[in-house]
């Protein structure tokens, strides 16, 4: 069986789904090819995974008409407090403090649980007449021919697409077959992720505690719950992960502190190995690489999905503009514009996160005093701090239309 589509998307995760909805909104026919079978993505239970959506990403969800379906489930981030410390010590006096009054536009971002976002995306994909959603299928072979790319699937069918967008995650196999090479390294850290219920209200505050083995991020969820991203050395992380829930919490408590009162686990515990993986090229013949497939980065500031959403908004806009002026939107000339728009920014962001992690995740006393004072000074310089906040909110730089 042979079918044709404007755009084929490899990967049906958050990035692939959002890409499909953005492209469909702009009138393109889209086919998503997702290796994961239908029932595996549906997991309505609370499982603790969540995302910090920067302001610009929130605007994109609004532009795609998704926001109204999830707004009631989101928690605005009203303030971010950054501290430097060590286990059991008092946080340093020079903590950095970003409150919502630093930005005119409102909260810097919102926390959204994975289960809510995924469910909304799934139903929208299925309802959209411009989107064909193939689940449990893999691309076995890909060739560029004439003005399209031909994808052969494992069920023997063929898809002819003018553009293939690769959204299948870090070090994408599809992108590598298309000739994209990666650079990067593994971190000597792993991330422990879970959700907690706590006694006292978080008041919409997000906390980032920098500790020698790595940062602990405490991100507010709806009600008296929070999501944590707890970075430890690989060895420690394995040990902690192997403990039962009580043991896990016993290790966490001195790191977490007592400011939210008593804590208890809700949902599952997750373990993620950490690495940075940057595609040397974000494009290949009739292929654009987006999201983690283009730039897998350290989760230290929760910028992975936000950065991927910028890729989506930029690529969708460039394709629309190209189509409206009669250009071949899968051509190298058009893809080169995407690469120009996104590669430098995304790579610079990944390297900044890397540097951030190196600066903070160690116990060098000189570095510690330097960063402590640095944070204190930054706190006293409103304009610099504002720039930082606008960067974190994703409202700085050349913004695509969907994020304006």
């Amino acid at each position: 069986m042979k079918s044709t589509t404007d755009i084929a998307i490899i990967g049906g995760g958050l990035t692939g789904s959002l890409m499909a909805l953005a492209a469909a909104k702009y009138g393109f026919s889209v086919c998503i090819i997702d290796a994961i079978a239908a029932n595996m993505q549906k997991n309505p239970d609370f499982d603790g995974r969540s995302y910090a959506m920067a302001m610009a990403s929130g605007r994109m969800l609004k532009a795609l008409g998704l926001w109204e379906d999830i707004e009631t489930e989101t928690q605005p981030i009203l303030d971010i407090k950054v501290t430097d410390g060590a286990v059991g010590e008092q946080p340093s006096p020079f903590f950095l403090h970003f409150d919502k009054y630093g930005l005119d536009e409102g909260p810097m971002g919102h926390m959204i649980e994975d289960r809510h976002l995924r469910a909304v995306l799934q139903s929208r994909l299925i309802d959209n007449v411009n989107i064909t959603y193939l689940r449990g299928q893999r691309v076995e072979d890909q060739t560029a021919q004439m003005a399209s790319s031909i994808l052969c699937l494992d069920d023997g069918s063929e898809i002819h697409a003018k553009l293939v967008i690769c959204a299948d995650g870090r070090s994408s196999a599809f992108a590598q077959r298309a000739g994209v090479t990666y650079t990067g390294w593994k971190y000597a850290q792993s991330a422990l992720v879970c959700a907690l219920e706590h006694e006292r209200s978080h008041n919409g505050f997000a906390y980032q505690h920098f500790m020698p083995p790595g940062p602990l991020a405490i991100l507010p969820l709806k009600d008296n719950r929070c999501s944590i991203v707890w970075t430890e050395t690989i060895e420690n992380a394995h040990t902690i992960m192997a403990m039962d829930n009580d043991g896990y919490l016993d290790v966490l408590r001195p790191r977490f502190g007592s400011f939210l009162g008593e804590i208890k686990l809700v949902g599952k515990r997750f373990f993620y190995p950490l690495d940075m993986s940057i595609a040397k090229s974000f494009i290949a013949e009739r292929v654009a690489v987006i999201g983690d497939a283009a730039h897998g980065m350290h989760p230290i500031a929760g910028q992975g999905l936000n950065s991927g959403m910028r890729d989506i908004a930029a690529l969708a806009q460039l394709c629309l503009e190209a189509k409206n002026r009669g250009e071949d939107f899968g051509s190298q000339a058009v893809l080169a514009r995407y690469q120009e728009w996104r590669r430098f920014d995304a790579t610079a962001l990944a390297l900044t996160m890397d540097a951030f992690n190196r600066l903070f995740s160690n116990d060098n006393s000189l570095l510690r005093s330097f960063r402590t004072i640095g944070m204190g000074v930054l706190n006293l310089l409103p304009s610099t701090k504002r720039t930082f906040m606008r960067e974190a909110a994703g409202v700085r730089g050349n913004l695509p239309d969907l994020m304006r």
Partner: protein, 247 residues
Amino acid sequence: MQASQFTVDTEEVAKFQAMADEWWDPKGKFKPLHMLNPCRLDYIVSQICAEFDRDPENHLPFVGLRILDIGCGGGLLCEPMARLGATVVGVDAAKRNIPVAQAHAKKSGLEIDYRFGTAEELVLQGEIFDVVLNMEVIEHVAEPEAYMKACQGLLKVGGLMICSTINRNTKSYIFAIFGAEYVMRWLPKGTHDWVKFITPDELYNLISNAGLQPVDKQGFVFNPVTWQWILSDRDLSVNYVTASLKP
């Protein structure tokens, strides 16, 4: 005998394909045209849409329009016009460009009528169009008045001509000749002859004398920071474009 004939043809086709690849390589020899192309197309598409009441968001908005591109080269303008649904004729006085453009159109799955010849010849053949694209040509022709009359003769009443060229002043000398040809090496030395460049007033007169009515003019301005061309209402100091109607 049959076999060698076949070989020759394949070689010819391969040669033209290679030249087409060169024309269409955004980083290659025609890089300046590729950089300018989105900006030129935005202008062309918006003018055609306004004049013929088309919506660029529609599928195939240019269906029913017959468009001529003079000096079509490798088809950088013809292909987008065809993709938007127009019936397109591309004419070029350089014979070798024709099979090159044909090879690329075939690869793109587009039907475009490419012809070796000149605007004047098409007038003699009685050809007539809704739109004539006269882009970066007039500064290269020997007799601009006669050429402009031919363009007028190719238009239907109510038809639209888009004409772009390069202004003649110190700045355009520095940018278009010294900058583009000598410093950036975007264009081969000798591509342009500065004395043949045309000021907006001169172009206005050429257009009016040919019996067309100028309706719009804008500058194509290169921004060296973003490395992009943009349209400007005010800055017509180097590259600029005009739209005219046949009353």
